[in-house]
Subunit: 295 residues, 2 copies
C-alpha cells in the first residue's frame, strides 16, 4: 500500500476478537502511522496494551477519536448509539467512521445521525470470526480469504468507500457492496439463524436430566459437537445481533419453525418419501457450496 493512502491514525473502539485482529493486521501491513484503542474495560485495555496492539490506549472515546482519520467501531452493535453520541463532537473533519457490526440497518440507524457534516460514514461487516472472544483471541490472518460487505448509505463519498475497501483488501478480504437491508436479510439466514438454533439446541440438551446430560457430553461427536462450537460465541455480541436484526431474523425463524413442524409431522405419520425428498434437496445446496468453494 502506498504511503499517500496510509491512514495517519486509526482509532479502534472496542478491542474484542475483531478489533484486536484488525490491530494485528494494521500493524502487519503497515496501514496506519498510529493505532489508538478505546476500550471501556480496563482489564481488556491492559491486555491489549500488554500484547502491543496499539501505540496508545484509553478509556475515553473522545480522546481516542480526536485527530484520527479513521475511526473503526468494533463494539457489540447494542453499544453503537452510545458510542456515536459520545464521539460525535470530537470527530475530525474529513475523517472516516466505519464499523465491523454483524447487522447493518441498526448501525445506520444508531450511528448515522451522529456523523457530522464533513465526516464520511462507511458501515462494513467483515464476515470472519471464531468462537473465541476478547483481545487475546485476535490474529492478523482472521480476515484472509473471507468476504467483507460494505453498506454505504446513498451519496457516500466514493473515495472514502474505496479507502475502507482497500483497507480490508489489504487484510486479505474480498469486497461486496450492498444495501444495508439486503445485508441483514442474507446474514439472518447464513449466520444469525444458525446461531439462534445452535444456542437453542444446546440449551435444550442442558435442560435434560443430569444423567442424560453427562451422556450427551460423552457421545457429542455425532452432530451435537458442531452446534456447541457455534454456540460458544460471545453472548453479548449475539444478544445485540438478535435484538438489532429482529424483523429479518423472526421472518426466517418463522419459516424454519414451519419447516420443522412439517418434518415432525412426516416423522409422526411415518411418511418416508416426504422425509427423504426433504433430505435430498439439502444435498443440492451443499453441492452448490462446494462449487462456489465455500464448503
Amino acid at each position: 500500500m502506498s504511503d499517500e493512502r496510509k491512514f495517519e491514525r486509526i482509532a479502534i473502539i472496542g478491542i474484542g476478537l475483531i478489533g484486536s485482529s484488525l490491530a494485528h493486521a494494521v500493524k502487519r501491513h503497515d496501514l496506519a502511522g498510529e493505532i489508538v484503542i478505546a476500550e471501556k474495560s480496563q482489564e481488556a485495555l491492559d491486555t491489549a496494551m500488554r500484547l502491543g496492539l496499539a501505540d496508545r490506549g484509553t478509556l475515553s472515546i473522545p480522546s481516542a477519536v480526536r485527530g484520527a482519520d479513521l475511526v473503526m467501531v468494533c463494539t457489540p452493535v447494542g453499544a453503537f448509539a452510545e458510542v456515536g453520541q459520545v464521539m460525535q463532537d470530537h470527530l475530525s473533519p474529513g475523517a472516516i467512521v466505519s464499523d465491523v457490526g454483524s447487522v447493518k440497518q441498526s448501525v445506520v440507524r444508531d450511528l448515522g445521525p451522529c456523523i457530522p457534516e464533513g465526516v464520511h460514514f462507511v458501515p462494513g461487516h467483515p464476515i470472519a470470526g471464531t468462537e473465541h472472544s476478547g483481545p487475546e483471541a485476535g490474529f492478523a490472518e482472521l480476515f484472509e480469504g473471507r468476504w467483507c460487505i460494505l453498506t454505504p448509505p446513498p451519496g457516500t463519498d466514493r473515495d472514502a468507500i474505496e479507502r475502507i475497501a482497500s483497507l480490508w483488501r489489504t487484510c486479505g478480504m474480498m469486497i461486496e457492496v450492498m444495501d444495508a437491508g439486503h445485508h441483514d436479510q442474507v446474514l439472518a439466514v447464513t449466520s444469525h439463524l444458525p446461531h439462534l438454533i445452535a444456542f437453542t439446541i444446546v440449551g435444550t440438551a442442558t435442560d435434560l436430566g443430569e444423567h442424560i446430560q453427562q451422556e450427551v457430553i460423552k457421545f457429542a461427536a455425532s452432530g451435537f459437537r458442531d452446534f456447541t462450537r457455534i454456540a460458544a460465541s460471545d453472548p453479548t455480541m449475539w444478544r445485540d445481533i438478535f435484538l438489532n436484526n429482529r424483523e429479518a431474523l423472526l421472518e426466517v425463524c418463522g419459516r424454519m419453525s414451519e419447516d420443522i413442524a412439517q418434518l415432525q409431522r412426516a416423522i409422526r405419520w411415518g411418511e418416508g418419501e416426504k422425509i427423504e425428498a426433504l433430505i435430498r434437496r439439502t444435498r443440492e445446496i451443499r453441492r452448490k457450496l462446494i462449487d462456489a468453494k465455500q464448503a
Copy 2:
C-alpha cells in the same frame, strides 16, 4: 489379536461408509480369515470388489451368511426386518449377528425375532461417520478414538458380547454397554435432532428466492456452512433413523420447538437479559465438552 479369537468368516451386509470402513479395518488388523460382502446394488458391489474390500462378493444374503461366524448388518435400519427374514434360515449355529445401526430399539424389534436358537445377537452402534457415503468413502481409521455402544438384550451370551467389543476395540473404539431404549434417547439429542435441524435449516434456505439463495451460498462461511456439512449425510440412512427413533426424536424436537418459541418471543419483545441468560448457559455445556475432551 490372538488367532483363537479371530473370526473365520465375517459377512458384511451392506457396503456403505460404515461397512466399507469395517472391511478396511478388519483387513488391516487381520480380524478375520475371510471377508464376504452381500450388497443389493450391483454397482456398489463392483466398486467394493474393485477396491479389494472382500474375498468374495454376492448379491445374495443367504450365500454371504452361510458359514460365517460373524454377520455384521450395515444396511440402513429400514432394511433390517427384510434382511433378518432373508438370512434367518441360513445362519450357522454359534454365529454372532451384530449391526452398526444408529437406532437400537427398532433393531432389536426387527432383527431379534429372526435370530434362531443357538445364534448370538449383539446389537451395536459405532458412533463414527463422515458426510460421505458409499463403498469408496470408507477408511480404516474412521473408528479410532470414538465410542461404540453395544445394546445386547438381557441374557445375551457374555463371550459373544466380549468378541464384538474386542472387534471394535481393535478398530480403535471405546466400548459402552447400555439398554437399547436409553441409547435411543441419548442419540436423539446428540445426533438425530442436530441432523433433523440441519436438514431443515438448509431446506428453509433453499426455499428462499433464487437471488437471495445465491448470496446465502456466497456468504455461507458464518455458521450456515457447518449445517450444510451435517446435512450432506446419506438421505436413505437418515430417513430410516428418523422413522425408527420416532418417539425419542419427537420428544426432544418438541422440547426444542418450545425453546425456539421462547427465544423468538424474547427477541420480538426486546428482552435482552433473557436472551443473554439463555446464550450464557450454552457456554457451560461447551466447557464441559472441552473438559471431557469431546470438543
